[in-house]
């Protein structure tokens, strides 16, 4: 059966050009970059070139880019590394309630180490309020971490504004840009970002590689101690093919970003328009305007998400409900709860995330399938029965009122 992949926020296929760029480094130029002979030198040169490419794409210096095993490690390193190295200056951190678990669970781990964390609420669109952000800053606040764009509902946060506030109070600013890098334009200097996390597999690069940008001069405790790789700050034999693939993927993504943004925004708004027009009891989650061009997120009343996903999967549609990392869990998405959805409709949410290969036909096919699926599941739903009999009211209608 034809598969329509609409889960690009979860992960993406490696582009052929990227795989091609990686291939020589598995079995030919496989040397250890730390070694002196040509096979190692070529690997070392490839890592240096990849570092320069990635640094250039975000307006940083090569020496400010550190390779990691992915977005999660970059988030952990930024928060734990900075907090632990700067604890003498203060033990308070600020983040938002809708961060990825790689940030939230890291904050919880830091709380166990004696740090205090403020989890800022967001508004109904998922936006952090700059005034509330400023109000949360205390004399002992050392670090703020606010994601560039949310992975579930696609909301883009006002990063430049938040970073400026942070700096006005001598607070270092980290952003998890895993969903934004390669999609939105990012210049760390212009935006005032001190620390930034990114991951290759979200932009048609390989899984298992990411990066942390850390502004020159920041003190950061190591997460992984050992050899002298990454200038003594992150040990392990470099994942040369992964690093090369990351740089290639990012280079291509950033070059095409403006065009893809325009194309995907049109597709996204087409999808949102059709759903709202054709499917009753549906609610768009996240901001309608400050939104990643590839993100569509709806809650559908009277049905539960996993059943919807499985039925869509049976029709060849690959989508997700909640974030990928928590699917399989029994808890509804913390992001949907944070934007004020009641549990019962948070359970019935669906995320469709477009990619560079997504066509209008794909989107239309998926929405047709979605309509059938929802009819099916609602027919089976005791809640819908109760609603139709007038025994309960619609939560979405109540929220909209």
């Amino acid at each position: 059966m034809k598969q329509i992949y609409l889960d690009n926020a979860s992960t993406t296929p490696v582009r052929p050009e990227v795989l091609e760029a990686m291939l020589p480094y598995f079995s030919e130029d496989f040397g250890n970059p730390s070694s002196l002979y040509p096979a190692g030198q070529r690997a070392s040169d490839a890592v240096a070139a990849a570092r320069a490419t990635l640094a250039g794409l975000i307006g940083a210096k090569p020496a400010e880019v550190y390779f990691t095993s992915g977005g999660s490690e970059a988030d952990n390193w930024a928060l734990k590394g900075f907090a632990r190295a700067n604890a003498s200056r203060g033990r308070h951190l600020i983040t938002s309630a809708i961060e990825h678990h790689a940030v939230l669970h890291t904050c919880q781990a830091l709380e166990k180490e004696g740090f205090e964390v403020t989890y800022l609420p967001v508004d109904g669109d998922g936006l952090v309020d700059p005034a509330a952000f400023e109000a949360a800053i205390r004399p002992d606040t050392i670090l703020a971490s606010i994601m560039f764009a949310n992975n579930e509902i696609g909301t883009i946060e006002p990063i430049a504004e938040l970073a400026a506030i942070a700096h006005a109070h001598d607070v270092v600013f980290h952003t998890d840009a895993v969903q934004a890098f390669g999609h939105e334009d990012i210049d760390v200097r212009a935006l005032g970002i001190d620390l930034l996390s990114a991951s290759a597999h979200k932009l048609n690069g390989p899984k298992g590689v990411g990066m942390l940008y850390a502004r020159k001069g920041l003190r950061l405790a190591n997460l992984i101690d050992g050899g002298q790789q990454e200038r003594g700050r992150r040990a392990t034999t470099e994942n040369v093919p992964g690093i090369v693939g990351f740089a290639k993927a990012a280079e291509l993504a950033c070059a095409e970003a403006a065009d893809e943004r325009a194309r995907q925004t049109a597709l996204r708004d087409h999808a949102i328009g059709r759903v709202l027009a054709e499917i009753p009891h549906a609610r768009l989650n996240g901001s309608a305007t400050s939104r990643l061009s590839n993100n569509v997120n709806f809650s559908f009343e009277f049905i539960e998400g996993e059943g919807m996903l499985l039925q869509l999967a049976a029709r060849g549609i690959c989508v997700s409900s909640g974030s990928a990392c928590t699917s399989g869990s029994l808890d509804p998405s913390h992001v949907l709860l944070a934007i004020g959805l009641p549990h019962e409709i948070a359970h019935g949410s669906l995320r469709m995330t477009l990619g560079r290969e997504t066509t209008r036909e794909d989107v239309d096919f998926a929405i047709d399938a979605l309509k059938q699926t929802l009819d099916n599941l609602r027919m089976m739903s005791p809640l819908y029965e109760d609603y139709q009999r007038g025994n309960v009211e619609s939560v979405i209608e109540r929220m909209a009122a």
Binding site: E304, E306, L310, S381, E385
Partner: protein
């Protein structure tokens, strides 16, 4: 963690048996709650000889919740009330070739929904069904935790 559903579960989920309502059912029971993500409602049509002539369900919940509802209604159809009481969560799970640990609670919910429908039948007809206790109407929160612990044990 991906769901590893058996073929039987997938079959009962994609082609659920006995979906629907029974008008003027002998008994009807609803368990679970939407906050926890699962609600099951089971309708039973029971004849004068205490035989379950028909069973229907409506379920709000995950694939496993729908599959266990479908299987539970299949299993009780044609059975006497006493036989139906033997359709435990284990029986439902076995009939479905097992469930992922995190989904075991769905089979408990199905058992409870049958019990709730039988309890409703008993109340309506002023009967006492031997071995039937008043079912917990809300089998949500508490149970999840128990199940998560089991899962941990199982995986480590």
């Amino acid at each position: 963690m991906a769901m590893n559903y058996s073929e039987a579960v997938m079959d009962h989920f994609t082609n659920p048996r006995n979906v629907g309502e029974i008008e003027n059912a002998s008994g009807c029971g609803t368990v679970g709650n939407a906050v926890c993500g699962d609600i099951m409602r089971i309708y039973l049509d029971i004849d004068g000889d205490s035989v379950i002539r028909d069973a229907k369900f409506k379920t709000f919940g995950c694939g496993a919740a729908i599959a266990t509802s479908s299987m539970a209604t299949e299993l009780v159809k044609g059975k006497t009330i006493q036989q139906a009481l033997e359709v435990t969560n284990k029986a439902v799970m076995e009939a479905l070739d097992g469930l992922p640990p995190v989904k075991v609670h769905c089979s408990l919910l199905a058992e409870e929904a049958i019990h709730a429908a039988l309890w409703d039948y008993a109340e309506k007809h002023n009967l006492v069904i031997e071995g039937l206790e008043k079912p917990v109407s809300d089998i949500g929160e508490h149970d999840h935790h128990a199940v998560e612990l089991v899962e941990d044990e199982d995986e480590l």
